[in-house]
């Protein structure tokens, strides 16, 4: 299957929280193939901003042929995307990487900050049997949408809502249990979730993030350390864009 690059029409944009934006894009060929946990590369219209920005899929609607991206404005490129207007076009390549494998009967989905969006499509894929544990600094986003497709437990760092503290504090306080863990979020959170998974002897899939150039596995910019020698790289490195971004937590050094 040839890789797809297309100029996707912007259907809608939204501001979900301070610095957190959403884009709904018309991208039928991408929606047709995509799965929860995959990502797309978004290209800037400015010629001096060369590299595509990798953004995870928050929503996939095969019937309507749309994809939804929710991202944090981190620099000039993502700021440009946040200013796109309905009817404008943005160049997209995807879907890229490998999605989450759907396992277990009582999955627990753990998202921290900007790691929350990819968990929404995963929660939908589990058809209501997932528990979602969402960790925010303070301001919440996407939470009500999670409530439509999963049981939701919330943690806020400032204690403004739900459990005060981290996602793991919420898991302990609310006695959230399951038979498989999925996590996406900042590295310290992924480390803590991995430790918890090992202690509880649960399978655990983490979605990793790193600066990318090509997004397709050629440039070797976005590697992560692995516990064993990888068959492709022949060293203890795997490519997050192509071999990931989802890995079994025990396979990677966090």
């Amino acid at each position: 299957m040839p890789k797809r690059i297309l100029d996707a029409g912007v259907i809608a944009r939204e501001k979900l929280a301070e610095g957190i934006f959403g884009l709904l894009l018309e991208a039928e060929p991408i929606a047709a193939e995509a799965a929860a946990g995959q990502f797309v590369s978004l290209y800037s219209a400015q010629a001096d901003r060369l590299l595509p920005r990798p953004i995870s899929l928050c929503g996939i609607d095969r019937e309507r042929g749309t994809i939804r991206l929710v991202y944090r404005v981190a620099g000039a490129g993502t700021k440009e995307f946040s200013e796109l207007l309905p009817g404008e076009k943005v160049r997209v390549m995807g879907p890229l990487g490998n999605g989450f494998p759907l396992k277990g009967s009582r999955p627990v989905l753990i998202g921290g900050g900007i790691g929350i969006p990819p968990m929404l499509e995963l929660a939908k894929a589990f058809g209501g049997r997932a528990a979602a544990v969402l960790g925010y600094r303070s301001e919440r986003f996407l939470e009500t949408e999670f409530e439509c497709v999963s049981r939701v437990y919330t943690a806020t760092e400032d204690g403004s809502f739900g459990t005060r503290g981290t996602v793991l504090d919420a898991i302990r306080q609310e006695k959230v249990s399951g038979d498989v863990l999925y996590a996406c979020g900042p590295l310290p959170m992924l480390r803590a979730v991995k430790e918890y998974a090992i202690r509880e002897n649960l399978p655990c899939y983490v979605s990793m993030e790193e600066r990318m150039a090509c997004g397709i596995g050629a440039c070797l910019a976005c590697v992560c350390r692995t516990t064993e020698t990888d068959a492709h790289s022949n060293v203890r490195n795997r490519r997050i864009c192509k071999d990931g971004p989802v890995f079994e937590a025990r396979e990677v050094e966090l």
Partner: protein
């Protein structure tokens, strides 16, 4: 219309190849187009043993460019020979293997290992700015560059391209040094050493602190160096540095390059190489040029 060019006795169907390190061994880009349209594929540098490369972050974007400090991560020559070369043999294109090493002996051993392999040309990387030993250490001293060239040439079965660093005072001197060592061709430029600082966190943008700058931002420097090198030596010159399209490629050819490589552009336009090939053909048609070789080094002063 003839678009064929000859580098050290190897005829390429057109002068467009891929720059080492931006194209892996072609597998990822073969999902976009038939690699058989390319003049040649230049592989990511390969060493005697697997190298892990540098810690991340390994890249950062800059204005009209980027910086990388991958650190020559590679799977080692054995896996490369059993997997990557057979893959590339499936395509009707020439194979140029980029070779890196931490010592003169390592370069020689890799070159020896490649002697029996169906590889058309070797490109010796003496210009990587992102590894502590080897790489650029050989590419900034004319005597060392000449010595590596001679040692590699003695061991090599295939013609040898020496890839030069722009991080030198006098590129012509380096070009002459590797020619004196027996180089069959030279390629340039590798990346320019740069640094980027994150003022928010007050830290280096790259884990390696410094990285190699590439992309359109460096193109005028690259064109100038290709021009100087082409005038300093009689062996063919392969030009690269910020080429994104046919008009960029043609600048290098007019400056004296017999062939060109597309590097960073692959990252933001996977079709950059085939589009460049098509664009060169249209230019030749428009200008009534029947043979691409008429354009090599044809730049002249303004009338």
């Amino acid at each position: 219309m003839n678009t064929e060019v000859t580098i050290a006795g190897v005829t390429l169907k057109n002068p467009v190849m891929t720059a080492s390190g931006t194209f892996g061994s072609g597998e990822e880009y073969s999902a976009f187009y038939d690699l058989g349209c390319l003049g040649a594929v230049v592989t990511k540098g390969v060493a005697l043993t697997p190298w892990e490369g540098n810690p991340t972050p390994r890249i950062a974007e800059t204005h009209s460019g980027m910086m990388n400090a991958i650190g020559l991560q590679n799977p080692g020559i054995e896996l490369f020979c059993s997997r990557d070369i057979p893959f590339l043999k499936r395509f009707d294109t020439k194979i140029i293997v980029n070779v890196c090493g931490k010592s003169l002996e390592e370069y020689v051993e890799v070159v020896r290992r490649l002697a029996g392999e169906p590889v058309d040309l070797l490109e010796i990387n003496i210009s990587c700015p992102n590894v502590k030993v080897g790489g650029i250490a050989f590419g900034q001293d004319p005597k060392a560059a000449e010595a590596v060239t001679r040692a590699v040439k003695d061991a090599a079965r295939q013609p040898v391209i020496m890839k030069l660093s722009p991080n030198v005072t006098d590129i012509a001197e380096m070009a002459r040094a590797v020619e004196a060592g027996g180089a069959d061709a030279i390629s340039l430029i590798n990346t320019l050493t740069g640094m980027k600082i994150d003022i928010d966190r007050q830290c280096f943008a790259l884990a390696n602190r410094t990285g190699g700058v590439s992309g359109p931002a460096i193109k005028p420097i690259a064109v100038r160096m290709v021009y100087q090198a082409a005038h300093a030596v009689s062996v063919p010159v392969i030009g690269m540095g910020g080429i994104t399209c046919a008009s960029d490629a043609l600048e290098f050819i007019l400056a004296g390059a017999s062939a060109v490589s597309i590097g960073t552009a692959n990252f933001f336009n996977p079709y950059a190489a085939p589009e460049t090939i098509e664009g060169i053909r249209s230019y030749m048609e428009q200008k009534g040029v029947s043979d691409i070789r008429e354009l090599i080094g044809a730049v002249r002063d303004r009338a």
